[in-house]
Each structure stands twice: as structure tokens, then as C-alpha cells.
Subunit: 140 residues, 2 copies
């Protein structure tokens, strides 16, 4: 079974948490999602700290990235952690897809959009995202 | 002369642009700052696109990271690009320092704060930052 690391914003802001739920639920049809907690509505932008130390979170997440076959990042909500995960994943030669919802007055970082190791796909609706996901996993 | 890659937010938001000016001006006493444009008040969160393509920006910045001896990141303003640059820099075994201004209700990503390859230093004022910078470059 394909292992998927879903990357989404936690401390960067939780505005897209409900979308993460829908994406992760759909990704579960394609493989095992290692980071299901990112969809958790109880998880606030204060993060998991309190339950786990920053080092424990870091070690766990880096372990999952190493274990994953695919890195699936929703990059619309700006996040330092997601950016780091993408840089680390690239250095480990992982297969990486970034989903982005363009918005008037906003711009995706050139470090993501200009990087030809990343497959960047734009969308607006969950139905469009599902088609992108289907195509991506069909081609794997 | 030591080459410094200063990493700060562009498309993630330009709230800290004036602080970047002060930090970069001080860093110029310590070495050559490759990314002086990050302090430019004309540079908005729409980024440099228009003048350069995303790929041109990406290629230039990755080139600078490879060339740099030190990566100096201001990580308070959340940025996908800065996160990516930190992940890439770590994979290239660069010396990395992250400056962070703690704020009520905000939390630094565990991917940065829990990573023992990064020297993370907290501060509030530019004078505190200058002391951190002095200490860091003294120890190099």
C-alpha cells in the first residue's frame, strides 16, 4: 500500500482545516495517510505542543517523511513547516505534489512554483482536487 | 569574506520588511549578504514575478544558497519559501541560524524549533538581535 505524507498548515494557521479533512478522506482511497492528525479539528495553531515536545514532533514527522512514498502538500495556507517538509522531501527524492488555490492578490512562493521537482496543481473546489488526485495516483 | 544568505518572507507577507532592512544592514558588517533585495521596500508580497519568472527566481536563490556559508533566517513572519530554503540548506549541510520574535498566541513550527540542526534564537528588539548576531559570528 502506498504511504502518503499529507502536509498542511498547523502553526501557520488552521483556516483550511475542513478542506484538509476532505482531502485526507479522499486520499485514504489511494493509500495509507501517515499524517491524519492534520485534519483534526481539535488541533489548533498552538500545535501539538503540550502533548509532545517540539523535538518529538519533529522526529516523528521526519520519520514519516522518510517512510512515505508520496508527499501531498496543500500549500495555499502559508506555512513554515510545510515549506521545510517540501525542502526535506526533495532532498530525499520523494515524489511530491503541491495543491494550490490561486486567489486575487496572493502569489505562491517562487521556491515552490519555480521548482520543477514539484508537481504544482491549481484548483478551487474539492471536486477539482479529487480529479487531480485521481490523475496523479493513476500515473504513479 | 563570509557569504550570508538572508532568508525572509516575500509572498508570505511583508510586515517585517523594515526589520529586514535593519538586520541586513547589520549583517553587512559580518560578511557579504547575497539576498539584499529582501529588504527592498519596493518589493511587495506579489514578489519579483513580472521582472523574473518563478523558475528564474528559484534558480538564482538556490544558487545563492549553495554559494552561502551561513543561512540567516528571520522566521517570525510565516513563509513557505523560507521553510523550503531551510530544508534545502539543511540538506546541503549549511550553518543555519533562525531568529524568532515570540508573540502571545503564536507558536514557531516544530519543524524549525524541534530541529537540532538549526540554531534558533529568540529576541524582541533590534539591539537584542545585534547581540545574537555578534555572538554567532564570533563563534564561527
Amino acid at each position: 500500500m502506498i504511504k502518503i505524507y499529507f502536509a498542511g498548515s498547523i502553526t501557520g494557521g488552521r483556516n483550511d482545516q475542513e478542506l484538509y479533512v476532505e482531502l485526507i478522506n479522499y486520499l485514504k482511497n489511494k493509500g495509507k495517510v501517515l499524517t491524519e492528525h492534520i485534519a483534526d479539528p481539535q488541533l489548533k495553531d498552538s500545535g501539538e505542543i503540550g502533548k509532545l515536545s517540539a523535538k518529538e514532533i519533529f522526529d516523528r514527522d521526519v520519520g514519516w517523511i522518510k517512510e512515505a512514498d508520496v508527499i501531498f502538500a496543500e500549500v495555499t495556507q502559508v506555512s513554515l513547516g510545510v515549506g521545510y517538509e517540501l525542502g526535506l522531501s526533495e532532498s530525499l527524492d520523494k515524489k511530491i505534489i503541491c495543491l494550490y488555490r490561486p486567489k486575487e492578490g496572493k502569489r505562491l512562493s517562487a521556491m515552490i512554483n519555480g521548482n520543477n521537482k514539484f508537481l504544482v496543481k491549481e484548483y478551487q473546489t474539492i471536486d477539482e482536487a479529487k480529479i487531480i488526485i485521481d490523475d496523479f495516483f493513476k500515473d504513479l
